[in-house]
């Protein structure tokens, strides 16, 4: 088994390359419908213009067609079941997707069950990331549900021999006229096996008429979370299950030189499993497995590895030349700079940070002959299935991945490491194995949000019109790299680089880094010109939706009504990404002796089209602001010669309850616009707003994230 460190894909980029429609299978011949069992009505959405032929590549009989994103089943008992490859990890889609189906089928949310993230039971899905669930899966499910409703009306019309115009759906029944006749959905589908492929999109209910969608429906299984009854991957128990541990190298890139496992093997019920440099342990209980791991005496060959010091320089030097040349250029930055009244050139940096999901990576793996079942918390069940198939050289249809609703991910659970490790142990043990990563493993062997260096040069006229904008991002990523401001002359470029640490997706991707650099720089321009920071933004902003959130945040915050004083300041920042528009205002106070910034108040305005669940959305926006506090003020992964120096919560400070100021969220519900996702973009505004507030309070301009882990330098009046 390879360790896959060197060859790990750049997940940040991989996320942008969501697999397209690769295969088409004839639904009727494939027999995957058998999975549903029984009768009833099955509806799925079929992409229009599908080629309607099989690809030459052979896949198993149970492999569903990839054009079909989800399907929806109405059973003979009237129960409505949605099958989707999306997974729930706290973002509340188990509820919000059910709401959208309930809306179209005219039933209450509790009539709906969502089967999610089980590769044997749901259609292929690229994964749950990129804020795609609401705009894509939500829309498709609404379409399917609307088609199902129309089909049920057809069935009733046929049965009663009446015009369908006289019939209506509501409360899980089709009713004729003023209640003359009525039939429950289950009664209509009983004894039938109806399959409806929806090719054209039936009319879905406009958001303006929503009754179930658009309301703050509580989390459907909320009670299980407050009672401790919800079963996460790490809570699962299988018959005969053993507990696993994996021996980790002393440093990145280290290879095993020698291993003495005698002491560990003498512990009762312990077995050592070795496969090249992979060394694992299984034991009948987790405690013994842990003791056995500690009893292993391993010697490692360690090669020199990059260290934290000076790594920003190395990122720039490590640029991979082959990837250059993707600059987006408009006009001439050089000419515009030459004639600008005000010119600025600044460099911003962003450290590696860790997702630190509270549920660490975990997996339970069980072999039954050549068939492998793995339960694991991942955002990409189908790609983890494929990773497993590749690792064990079996076909994907021999692998079933199931994702219990997961203890958060934030972009950090794309890869299948824990799943592969558990499966490797289970294969040798001949029994199911549970593997739960420790916090230290999570901090060391997962991947990080990319660090980055961002160089910005700009030019502006005295009246505040920005005329030149040049922006280079090294390594951290291209998300939201384009400026939303209407600047005539631009050059914008992302430069991929060799990262010293394994890096990948993190909530919002590089949108946080790029917004930090851009919105800090806009603030610097405002200061250089001597114009209010909000005014500068509005002067250069044409996008009406972005203008609207800036106005909304500023109004709620009372922007401009209070003057910054020594040790107290206000900052504003905003932007647009993935269809979400955000503006954030922050009030910061500098604590006297420690010179640490304390957040006193945050106002965030957010607009993502028609809101599906205002309660859940508010929760997401608040949560994003809170999570952003860590990356803005104090989170940083420190590393030294291939080791993470602070792989524990005692050394890696995450936001705690006392760090959180009152947060006021302004939601702009645009029922006239399509719904966009909201899991990510609300995180991007806080860091620059806080940095700008610190500048207003102190005159000190901070250009690196985290801004002030050790307080604000007193003397550096560098702006």
């Amino acid at each position: 088994m390879s360790r896959r460190r060197d060859s790990a894909p750049n997940l940040e980029l991989a996320e942008h390359a969501i697999s397209g429609k690769l295969h088409w299978f004839d639904v009727d011949r494939r027999g995957f419908l058998k999975l549903l069992g029984g009768g009833g009505l099955l509806v799925f959405l079929q992409a229009s213009g599908s080629p309607g032929q099989e690809s030459g590549r052979s896949r198993g009989d149970r492999e569903p067609p990839r054009e079909i994103s989800a399907w929806l089943h109405i059973g003979e008992d009237g129960r409505i079941t949605v099958f989707t490859g999306k997974v729930e990890m706290g973002q509340n889609i188990r509820t919000s997707l059910a709401q959208q189906v309930a809306e179209e089928l005219r039933v209450s949310v509790d009539a709906i069950t969502c089967v999610m993230g089980d590769t044997d039971r749901v259609p292929w899905d690229a994964g749950t990331f990129g804020s795609r669930t609401t705009p894509t899966m939500g829309r498709e499910l609404r379409t399917m549900a609307a088609a199902a409703r129309e089909q049920l009306i057809d069935l009733a019309a046929e049965r009663w021999g009446v015009e369908r115009a006289a019939l209506a759906a509501g409360g899980g029944r089709i009713t004729e006229g003023a209640g003359r006749r009525t039939l429950a959905y289950g009664d209509l589908t009983r004894g039938q096996k109806l399959i409806r492929a929806v090719a054209a999109e039936p009319a879905v209910t406009p958001a303006g008429q929503w009754k179930v969608a658009g309301t703050a429906v509580p989390k459907v299984d909320g009670r299980d979370f407050v009672t401790g009854r919800h079963v996460y991957t790490s809570d699962l128990v299988r018959p005969g299950m053993l507990h696993g541990k994996v021996l980790r190298p002393a440093a990145f890139g280290a290879t095993l030189a020698a291993l003495d496992s005698g002491a560990a093997e003498r512990l009762p019920g312990v077995r050592i499993i070795r496969d090249g440099d992979f060394v694992g342990i299984v034991a009948s209980d987790a405690w013994t497995a842990q003791r056995a791991l500690a009893a292993l005496d391993a010697k490692w060959n360690v090669s020199p590895q990059p260290s934290h010091q000076e790594f920003f320089d190395s990122l720039k030097k490590g640029e991979t030349p082959g990837d250059r040349g993707n600059a987006q250029v408009t006009g001439s930055v050089e000419e515009a700079l030459a004639s600008a009244d005000v010119k600025l050139a600044r460099t911003y940096t962003v450290e590696y940070i860790a997702h630190a999901p509270l549920e660490t990576r975990a997996a339970v793996a069980e072999w039954s002959g050549e068939k492998l079942t793995v339960w694991t918390g991942t955002q990409r069940p189908f790609s983890v299935r494929d990773e497993l198939a590749e690792a064990f050289r079996i076909s994907p249809e021999k692998v079933r991945v199931q994702v219990p609703d997961t203890g958060s991910a934030y972009g950090g659970k794309h890869a299948g490491d824990a799943a592969i490790e558990a499966a490797r142990l289970a294969r040798s043990a001949g029994k199911p194995v549970k593997l739960v990563w420790t916090r230290e493993e999570e901090f060391t062997w997962a991947y990080f949000r990319p660090a980055g260096v961002i160089e910005v040069s700009s030019g502006a006229r005295r009246d505040g019109t920005v005329t030149a904008w040049e922006f280079h991002n090294y390594n951290s990523g291209p998300a939201a790299i384009a400026t939303p401001y209407a600047v005539a002359n631009q050059k914008i470029q992302f430069h991929p680089a060799r990262s010293p640490l394994r890096q990948g997706s993190y909530r919002g991707l590089a949108a946080t880094a790029n917004h930090f650099a851009r919105e800090t720089h806009m603030d610097e321009l405002a200061a250089a010109i001597g114009i209010d920071p909000l005014e500068l933004r509005l002067r250069n902003l044409a996008d009406p939706r972005l203008r609207m959130v800036f106005h909304a945040a500023a109004e709620k915050f009372g922007w401009g009504k209070q003057k910054a004083a020594a040790g107290r300041g206000f900052g504003i920042a905003g932007g647009v990404e993935k269809g979400g528009y955000v503006a954030t205002c922050a009030e910061v106070e500098i604590e006297g002796s420690s010179r640490r910034p304390r957040l006193r108040r945050v106002v965030e305005a957010f607009e993502c089209g028609a809101v599906v669940n205002p309660g859940g959305l508010r929760n997401q926006v608040e949560g994003a602001v809170v999570q952003a506090i860590g990356g803005a003020l104090f989170e940083a992964v420190r590393f030294e010669n291939g080791r993470i120096v602070n792989p524990r919560f005692s050394g890696y400070r995450v936001p705690r309850i006392g760090d959180v100021p009152p947060i006021e969220v302004v939601i702009l519900d645009r029922r006239d616009l399509p719904s966009a996702g909201a899991g990510e973009t609300p995180i991007v505004g806080l860091a620059p707003a806080v940095g700008n507030a610190i500048f207003a309070a102190t005159g000190v301009r901070l250009r690196g994230l985290p801004l002030a882990p050790d307080g604000i330098p007193d003397s550096t009046k560098n702006a």
Binding site: T227, S234, L358, G407
Partner: protein, 157 residues
């Protein structure tokens, strides 16, 4: 290995375990009380919080032998016969969770606070919950939920 007798959620439970094994590990892996969570193993995140004789304790840093003879309350013990503890009810009403993984530890921690101090001010709640991490960032709701539970407990006395 030793045969230990524990009082968990009002019941006597006998368990074979090394005396130095963590209470968290015994609860989760030997007694199948998985509501109590592992988060860090160093007492920094609070996901493993249980009550020992009514006071919050980090079960990941408590050896099981230390818990012998004391009343252990886990999240599963807060709602006997399915009636939610006021803190659980308030968390549910205010949706003071997203992924829910920190929630049992948060609730048990807060229940311990309110048992000792039914009417804490904001500062006291913040101080008490500073050792409980919620990575989803639901702290504002958690604060509201604990205040709401406190108000109800005070009113019902």
């Amino acid at each position: 290995m030793a045969e230990l007798s524990l009082t968990v959620n009002g019941k006597t439970r006998r368990v074979e375990a090394p005396p130095e094994e963590s209470l968290l590990s015994v609860l989760r892996d030997r007694l199948e009380l998985t509501g109590t969570k592992y988060g860090c193993g160093e007492g920094q995140c609070g996901a493993c919080t249980v009550l020992l004789d009514g006071r919050p304790a980090r079960s990941c840093r408590t050896e099981v032998s230390e818990a012998v003879g004391r009343k252990i309350t886990t999240i599963e013990g807060l709602s006997p016969e399915g009636r939610l503890h006021p803190v659980q009810a308030a968390f549910l009403e205010t949706e003071a969770f997203q992924c829910g993984y920190c929630t049992p530890g948060m609730i048990v921690s807060a229940a311990g606070l309110l048992a000792a101090n039914p009417n804490p001010d904001r500062e006291a709640i913040v101080r008490h919950l500073t050792g409980n991490v919620c990575r989803c960032g639901t702290y504002p709701r958690i604060l509201t939920a604990v205040q709401r539970a406190a108000a109800r407990i005070t009113k019902s006395r």
